[in-house]
Symmetry: C2
Subunit: 455 residues, 2 copies
């Protein structure tokens, strides 16, 4: 029976949690059970447990499966597991990891772990790992694999295949074979597919793709990953500033990078700090901490609305019914702004919009806002008339047009400005736009009210 | 010089847009220029143009590049291009496409195009395409490739490689070789890597991975893609209900599916309908249409707040200063709710949270909300005292605790309830939670006020 357990679907994953099995049926049973699930499912179970339980469960795994499961874990969980292990099994794990996975784990690990790991490694593995750690955080260099098979330029398919057989065992992938000159400068790429499908005496030069897509080791991993998405390559050669080949960025790592980036954007856009680790395994205090800063900043920013409302207190006293529509109006403005902000952040992320499109985007969103505002105005007129009077309804209607036009413009502009200022556009998040629009929207509302109601 | 043009970065992409080049320097120059960019960059340029310009520019491409560029385009853009082409070049393109790409394009194409395409295809291509179109929309069946190389169970590496050479040319990938029994039922998978690295007389059975991860053709493409992300496979075998092999889901398509799903979630979470196509190429009217429905629904929902405020109008008249804090309080509640909703939608999407976690999530988010609320309450006390009085400040502080606890709980609950009701959790979007919290938050506020101020 094929393993199609899809944790993203409801009710999948082991019916009983590992923890329950351990408690109710003992270690023996749990050990049995573990054999029947693919590594990624076990990893997901471990990630849902607290450090202690996860450690216990992990030690139940047979040696050969332990590494497979370990590689599926998030860096934070990997550290927890490692901290609980005795030297022998500790070393087996870290020695067995791919250099790039190891580097990713060490990036976030406490110094003690880092030292323990590096000291435990064989010289060769240690050299590769330190090399990766030498590249800036978030760069392709950090996520690439140095374990690849490179080919010289002037060989036949026969010779190339011999090289692959000789060196392929240690390589993370042999499907993309970079071709380099005597100075190890990247001159092209040949797919293993071509070697297998063509006659043995074909010169590799006839099969090579010259000017392949590639990335500099210092490029951001996210941009490199999105480049791979566009070129549909399964491996991207990584080069240094002299165009010398230093590694391959594999698609599985690219997918992780894209997912991480999207998760981060989503978190940022809801005004919360992005975090590593499993939602169910994060403590309440941690969750609160990730959200606290933004929430407080937004509240402080929101005091603007208090000031604005106070400035127009006289107007409110003369027409108390104006207060009724405050939540609805700033809500509409907030939503219109959030829609525009989210659309633009996403368009920037996937490369549909560039910093240079700023003016075009402003003009687009301004018109979109007016269209939507005019539409809402109709509803506003009805609501206003029903609850209060035609005159107040008119105020509400006009305000909706103004607020939506203004909100969409701000929402579309902020992310692009952020990008220009080299700030992550997602940080200029929907709630930030909303809060800004709340205060300014109130001004539009009260000014319109004074004009229309003549007070 | 390596092509590291990363459209996601500012200031990249051709300095001049193709359109400008055509206008200023004529077709000749444009044709020259097109030679110097990789297909995905040209595709991005075309996507930014209107249908007419894109058609003109596309026809400038030399025959061999045309297909490469065409394959990089989004389905909607592909249709625009096709509509503008004469039969010969039209047929070259559709015949040259991979069956799954073709199916994806036809999925969204008008009937006329579909007929024209299917009639133009060679019998074999037509058969494969219609087969894919037979699977439900959004299923793996739609996005898989039927062009693969399958191996019988009892062959040696030598025989297997011969099969690959014989059939590999037409296959979309030869890196993952499904192993099937006489009834074409999937029994395992062997990587081309293993065939290349092992002696020619090794029985394939020794290299095969039995019980490989796989998906049913009717499974959702998104879940299959997320499964591949967890297993790090570059190709996922797709089987029918009798476990017969029907295709391979390739990683490049999986990445597209994940990106599309994330884009959709992001759009939904900002209360806007997801759309296909390029932001810069979408008209103002289209953008407005995607956002109009939700915006109106939210406004209608927001009339609740008008009703609530009116119900407490007496309270407002006795303590007019209460109006000052309405925007700030509902803003805080909205933000707290949005944070929780977004975190849970994402956790569901990546499979960290399951429908069965509902109660755990409620309890988690409720406590997170109280923690955050108590923190904001301190700020609220200060603001309240500064602007009005200690007594009103007390009302504001207490309300913040209540609103945040309530908002986070709602925000965490709605996505999971949606999942249980088989609704896309992202649809229960942040703005929906916000609007709900606005109205209920006002009640909490006024009730607290009456209690504390004794009115």
């Amino acid at each position: 029976m094929p393993k199609t357990l899809l944790p993203a679907e409801p009710g999948t994953g082991p019916a009983e949690s590992l923890r329950e099995i351990i408690e109710n049926q003992g270690l023996e049973a749990a050990q049995e059970r573990l054999k029947s699930y693919p590594p990624h499912v076990i990893a997901d179970e471990l990630a849902r447990m607290d450090a202690v339980d996860a450690g216990v469960a992990f030690r139940l795994l047979p040696k050969d499966r332990a590494l497979a499961v370990f590689e599926e874990l998030e860096p934070v969980d990997q550290q927890q597991i490692l901290e609980g292990l005795r030297d022998r099994s500790f070393l087996d794990l870290v020695e067995g990891m791919d250099p790039d996975d190891r580097a990713r784990m060490l990036k976030e690990a406490p110094a003690t772990i880092v030292r323990r790991v590096l000291e435990g490694l064989s010289p060769n593995e240690r050299r590769m790992t330190s090399a990766l750690l030498g590249y800036p955080e978030g760069s392709v260099g950090r996520s690439m694999t140095p374990e690849l098979v490179a080919l010289p330029q002037d060989v036949t398919v026969r010779q190339a295949l011999r090289t692959v057989r000789a060196e392929g065992a240690d390589a993370e992938t042999v499907y993309t074979l970079p071709v380099v000159d005597s100075g190890r400068r990247l001159t092209g790429v040949v797919e293993l597919r071509e070697l297998v499908l063509n006659p043995l005496d074909t010169p590799v030069s006839e099969l090579v793709v010259t000017e392949p897509a590639s990335a500099y080791a210092t490029d951001s991993a996210e941009s490199a990953a999105r480049l791979m998405r566009e070129t549909n390559d399964i491996n991207l050669p990584v080069i240094d500033s002299e165009n010398r080949l230093v590694g391959l960025f594999t698609i599985d790592d690219a997918v992780e990078v894209i997912e991480a980036a999207d998760t981060e954007d989503v978190a940022r856009q809801s005004g919360s700090a992005p975090w590593a680790g499993h939602y169910m395994a994060t403590t309440v205090w941690q969750l609160a901490r990730y959200r606290a800063l933004w929430l407080s900043l937004l509240l402080v920013a929101a005091t603007l609305t208090v000031g604005v409302t106070q400035a127009f207190e006289a107007t409110l006293e003369q027409a108390a019914s104006l207060a009724l529509f405050i939540p609805m109006l700033i809500g509409a403005g907030g939503n219109a702004g959030a829609q525009a902000a989210t659309a633009c952040v996403r368009a920037l992320a996937v490369g549909e919009v560039r910093g240079s499109d700023l003016l075009k985007v402003i003009w687009r969103e301004f018109r979109v806002g007016l269209v939507l505002g005019s539409m809402l105005a109709v509803l506003g007129l009805v609501v206003g008339t029903v609850f209060v009077s035609a005159k107040v309804a008119l105020v509400v209607g006009i305000t909706l047009v103004l607020i939506c036009g203004w909100a969409a413009t701000i929402g579309g502009t902020m992310p692009l400005l952020a990008r220009r200022l080299r700030i992550d556009p997602a940080v200029v998040s929907a709630p930030m736009v909303t809060t800004l629009v709340d205060a300014t929207g109130l001004i539009l509302y009260f000014v319109t009210a004074k004009a229309v109601l003549g007070i």
